[in-house]
Amino acid sequence: MSVFLWGVLPYLTLLLLIGGLWYRRRFDQFGWTSRSSQIYEKSILKIASPLFHYALFAVLGGHLVGLLIPKEWTYRVGISQHTYHLMALVVGGIAGVVCVLALFALIIRRRTNPSVFAATTWNDKGMYVVLTAALVLGLVATFFGGERPNGEEVNYRDTVSVWFRSLFTFKPNIAAMEAATLPFKIHVVVGLLLFCILPLTRLVHAFAAPVQYLFRPYIVYRSRGTRPVQGSSWQTVGQKRTR
């Protein structure tokens, strides 16, 4: 079980993520959109959506720092474990709480506004369950994952981070992950699940971040002949069948 969860599942996730993105890119460009519901309701959305996204960026940044930077490096620049933990708890905690609150606001909007609710697919509902679970479990792990029930302190930078970095060398350190506390284990599994379903849900819009907008000319000329030719299945992933 441990081997599957910490040795196989991460690579499976990566495979599904890349495969799913390739599939969307190759066959479902038409379905690749944020599927905004702003036209139905914008007063809640215009506050909650930017809040959620910005908080999510902070959370993402926190994950990268925590997972990729070995704890010896931060010690060397003079940040003690106590300071680091405090910083992670305060910054990560605030970002996580804001993110979850904004997500709740968006879900309440989605449920209570009849127009938005009518445009919500089963795909969306499933996605929201996984997304909410991943975020809430992350908060639980942040606040309560620091020690075992018997009071023994466990630093995730000795367990989860070591395992995560070992994945890149294709020699997964399963033992390190086994040593992590239960909240972290559950959070990691749900997090991997989130990345598995990402390309098949509306979350795929994250991979359409239009950075090229900063560099392209304002006016785009295109010849009739340069239409990008690719397969396109008209029925799209994650969308309601049109009547």
Partner: protein
């Protein structure tokens, strides 16, 4: 000089009776789908009126179009690139469903399924968004013919502006009011701000004919284009999550036939043709300092298709001879630049729109007639155009950024044409002094009359076909006519066999026949039989 060709349209507003046939046929052709219920690529607005979506011209609120920067360039009114990317997580500066309308259908089932009873069953309106019973509060054309009720027309942004400037009230009492209809499609601008606002780069202008399209595969639904377009002619398909817009019926234009809205126009008020323009001068012209000079600046960008210099540059750019020929015969060029009777819609948005309008003389004529004057006499008309400032100022806010001079100029030409042709009808000979009063020759007067009043089919529409040597590039493909005989004959396996034939083929064949007949000055041939008898059309 970089010469490019642009398909453009001119609408003669005097001839618009507000029947909405263009809107309805366009909708039946293109937007009768789930997700586009509220989308009208073509709509007809009553002016004064709020338009669709309501008050779209209020750019203080909607932030559409370009503004001139202090350094003499232009930037999007809604903000620069970085700001757009940083605020991409919501795009609230744009109309909501309530600014358009909530689309609905009726519960027709009740009418047939209701049990026998004392009361008549009623088909109640059901929202197409939520499926629930709803109260209809407005629609795309709620204020048709000033029918919006008290206070509606006063909320027209132009009426508000004129009121603030002149303290003059536009009167909406029935006997003192004026009104006209304004059909609107996408402007297919030379300097489109929707395109500039698109983070994905999905909106593009076709090099061959200047038609502005949304690449449905590249659009990611960021909705910045809706904010960017000052005419609010980009719509959000709320089912597919993509932007959609009027595409100038490009499959028809490629086949050399006019758009659906033009083809079905009862008043025959639309003209379609080619304009040659200098793409290198567009941005500079769009940055003209005084908004009132933008009309002239846009005229400058358009090139004379008879100028040998222009023709040489056009050929160097690979523009084909038949296109250059079409540019020379273009009714649109004639109306815009030769006779100067057509004006752009809101040039102050700095997008260089390419759907132009001949402003209506009818508000002036109607007011004259109601006051008991001879509304066809040149002297009366000229005097009235000067005296009746409210219609003129209103038209100037629509077409020339508030400068009344070009509008008066156009209206006087139209008035002169009206009087001149009355003389021709009544006395068999026109009065040349009327033509000279507006700086035209009697000959030009009659040519203009022929173009806008007679408006023969093949003179209204001069549309060169897309090139067949590049036919593999045509976006509508799948024509399977590689058996003997014409497309109107049965296929090799009887009628209805083989791959589906695009609808445009049938239209094209009948259109060609009708055109040939018109050119030979004969009666048009009978229409082909409908339904199953037309081979290949299902």
């Amino acid at each position: 000089m970089r010469v490019m060709a642009q398909v453009a349209m001119v609408m003669n507003l005097d001839k618009c009776i507000g029947c909405h046939t263009c809107s309805v046929t366009c909708k039946q052709a293109w937007t009768n789908r789930t997700g586009t219920e509220y989308v009208w690529f073509n709509n007809v607005e009553t002016r004064p009126g709020q338009g669709y979506p309501r008050r779209y011209e209020d750019q203080e609120k909607w932030q559409g179009g370009w503004v001139r920067t202090a350094s003499g360039g232009i930037k999007l009114r809604s903000g620069g690139r970085l700001k757009k990317l940083l605020t991409i997580f919501a795009s609230p500066v744009q109309p909501e469903m309530d600014d358009y309308y909530e689309p609905w259908t009726y519960d027709y089932e009740t009418l047939t399924n209701a049990p026998l009873g004392d009361d008549f069953p009623v088909a109640r309106p059901k929202s197409l968004i939520t499926g629930r019973t709803m109260a209809i509060e407005q629609s795309a054309n709620w204020d048709d013919s000033l029918g919006g009720g008290p206070g509606w027309e006063e909320r027209d942004p132009i009426v508000e502006k004129l009121h603030a400037e002149s303290q003059e009230r536009i009167r909406f009492e029935y006997e003192k009011s004026f009104m006209f209809f304004l059909p609107r499609i996408c402007e297919h601008c030379l300097n489109p701000s929707c395109m500039a606002a698109c983070p994905s780069g999905a909106i593009y202008k076709r090099e061959e004919d200047g038609i502005v399209l949304v690449d449905q595969d590249a659009c990611r639904g960021w909705r910045q284009c809706i904010t960017g377009c000052p005419y609010k002619k980009i719509y959000y398909n709320h089912r597919s999550g993509k932007a959609e817009k009027c595409h100038f019926c490009y499959p028809r234009i490629e086949a050399g036939i006019p758009t659906v809205c033009s083809e079905t126009c009862v008043g025959r008020l639309r003209h379609i043709g080619i304009i040659l323009y200098d793409a290198d001068r567009v941005t500079k012209a769009a940055a003209t300092k005084d908004p009132k000079d933008l009309y002239a600046a846009q005229l400058e960008v358009m090139l004379d298709p008879n100028d040998p210099e222009v023709l040489r540059a056009a050929r160097a750019q690979g523009i084909a001879e038949d296109w250059l020929d079409a540019a020379r015969r273009s009714p649109v060029y004639a109306l815009i630049k030769h006779y100067r009777v057509a004006l752009p819609l809101h040039p102050e948005y700095r997008t260089m729109p390419m759907v132009w309008y001949i402003p209506p003389l009818s508000p002036v004529v109607d007011l004259l007639r109601e006051q008991g004057h001879d509304a066809e006499a040149a002297g009366n008309l000229f005097g009235a155009i000067d005296a009746l400032r409210i219609p003129v100022d209103y038209l100037a806010e629509l077409f020339t950024a508030g400068d009344p001079a070009p509008v008066i100029d156009v209206l006087q030409k139209l008035a002169a044409m009206r009087s001149y042709m009355r003389e021709v009808t009544l006395r068999g000979k026109g009065d040349p002094t009327i033509a000279e009063a507006v700086g035209m020759t009697p000959q030009a007067m009659e040519q203009l009359y022929r173009l806008v009043a007679i408006a023969r089919y093949n003179e209204r529409y001069v549309i060169p076909k897309a090139h067949y040597e590049m036919a593999h590039n045509l976006e509508e493909m799948g024509c399977s006519v590689d058996f003997d005989g014409s497309v109107t004959d049965d296929g090799p396996f009887g009628s209805g066999s083989g791959a589906p034939v695009p609808v445009a083929i049938e239209t094209f064949a009948s259109m060609q026949a009708r055109r040939a007949a018109a050119e030979a000055d004969q009666a048009p041939p009978p229409l082909p039989p409908a339904g199953d008898e037309v081979p290949g059309v299902r």
